[in-house]
């Protein structure tokens, strides 16, 4: 269900908009779910994934933690290999943090959204 929603979303909203953090599925990146305070971006990381093209993989924080390999720029992504960006969002009011994972295929400068979700920052504490 989540994947279907993402695909529909992707057709309407470009990955760029998701990046800016308008909405991600039904979960808002704008408002803190703890105190409704404003969430701001507090970090961005780029990783390589051991997945090719549009292959499916387990969609979980644990999967990304186990398999993501840090890279510095999209130039390091071999053609046909998936990558993901992880955005850390922090509440300006209470400091609550979340991680937004955008799983994509990098094709000649364009990014095709293939998956991703929003996860509690706690799960990624030791990862960053």
């Amino acid at each position: 269900m989540r994947i279907v929603r993402l695909h529909l979303l992707e057709r309407v909203v470009e990955p760029l908009l998701i990046r800016i953090g308008v909405h991600f599925g039904e979960k808002s990146l704008e408002k803190c779910k703890e105190c409704k305070g404003k969430m701001v971006e507090a970090g961005e990381h780029l990783y390589l994934l051991p997945v090719k093209l549009s292959e499916k993989h387990e969609e979980s924080a644990e999967y990304y933690i186990r398999n993501a390999k840090k890279i510095q720029s999209t130039d390091e992504i071999p053609s046909g290999t998936r990558a993901c960006r992880m955005f850390i969002f922090e509440c300006q009011n209470c400091g609550h943090k979340i991680v937004s994972v955008v799983d994509f295929l990098h094709v000649r400068g364009s990014e095709v959204l293939e998956g991703g979700d929003i996860y509690p920052f706690d799960k990624f504490k030791d990862f960053f």
């Binding site: 549009s54 053609s79 295929l105 094709v107």
Partner: protein
């Protein structure tokens, strides 16, 4: 790379002719039609067309089986180990398989219309390895591919085909381009391995 084997294609044509003409005349004979010769020829043409369509749409299925068997036994005998494989087998297109052995840079090719001959060359013998798409009107495409030349003859593999025009920024086209770029890069990397 030799894509067509005359004998194999002739056999398929012969089978279609025998089945078509045989069914045409059998049909006329069994229904006791008048003018058996004229009706026989007419029905033969109808059945020929029918069997021709069936042959065209199923050749990749049965020829592909033979081709795969040939390719697998040959690449096994030649110790292909870490392979990337690309198969095209859409109906009404030429089925082909490309198998690239990364550690040795060898490339195995087989065409479904020449399914008994597995051709193995080193990637350094290939030239003009590239990936691209055929531009359609309004900046769209319905054909994305990667290709190379071997002895001045082009071998092309489609990674995306469609009856309809797709935008270059569509998911389908971008995924096709990504796949084409990936195989182009696998071939280029194979070229750099020692012969």
């Amino acid at each position: 790379m030799k894509k067509y084997n005359a004998a194999y294609i002739l056999i398929q044509i012969l089978i279609v002719i025998v089945l078509g003409v045989g069914s045409g005349f059998a049909f006329v004979y069994l229904t006791h039609m008048k003018n058996p010769l004229a009706s026989g020829i007419a029905f033969s043409i109808i059945f020929l067309f029918f069997f021709w369509l069936i042959a065209m749409s199923t050749t990749n299925a049965y020829s592909g089986k033979i081709a795969k068997k040939t390719l697998n036994s040959e690449t096994e005998a030649q110790h292909f180990e870490k392979c990337s494989t690309f198969i095209t087998k859409d109906s009404f297109t030429l089925g082909q398989i490309l198998k690239i052995d990364a550690p040795t840079g060898r490339v195995a090719y087989i065409s479904f219309q020449n399914p008994k001959q597995c051709q193995i060359v080193h990637a350094s013998e290939l030239t003009n390895i590239s990936s691209s798409y055929i531009k359609g009107p309004f900046g769209g495409t319905r054909y994305v591919y990667f290709q190379f030349y071997y002895k001045n003859k082009r071998v092309r593999f489609a990674t995306f085909t469609s009856r309809n025009m797709y935008s270059l920024s569509s998911r389908q086209v971008l995924e096709g381009i990504s796949k084409a770029d990936m195989f182009r890069d696998i071939l280029l990397a194979a070229q750099r391995t020692q012969r």
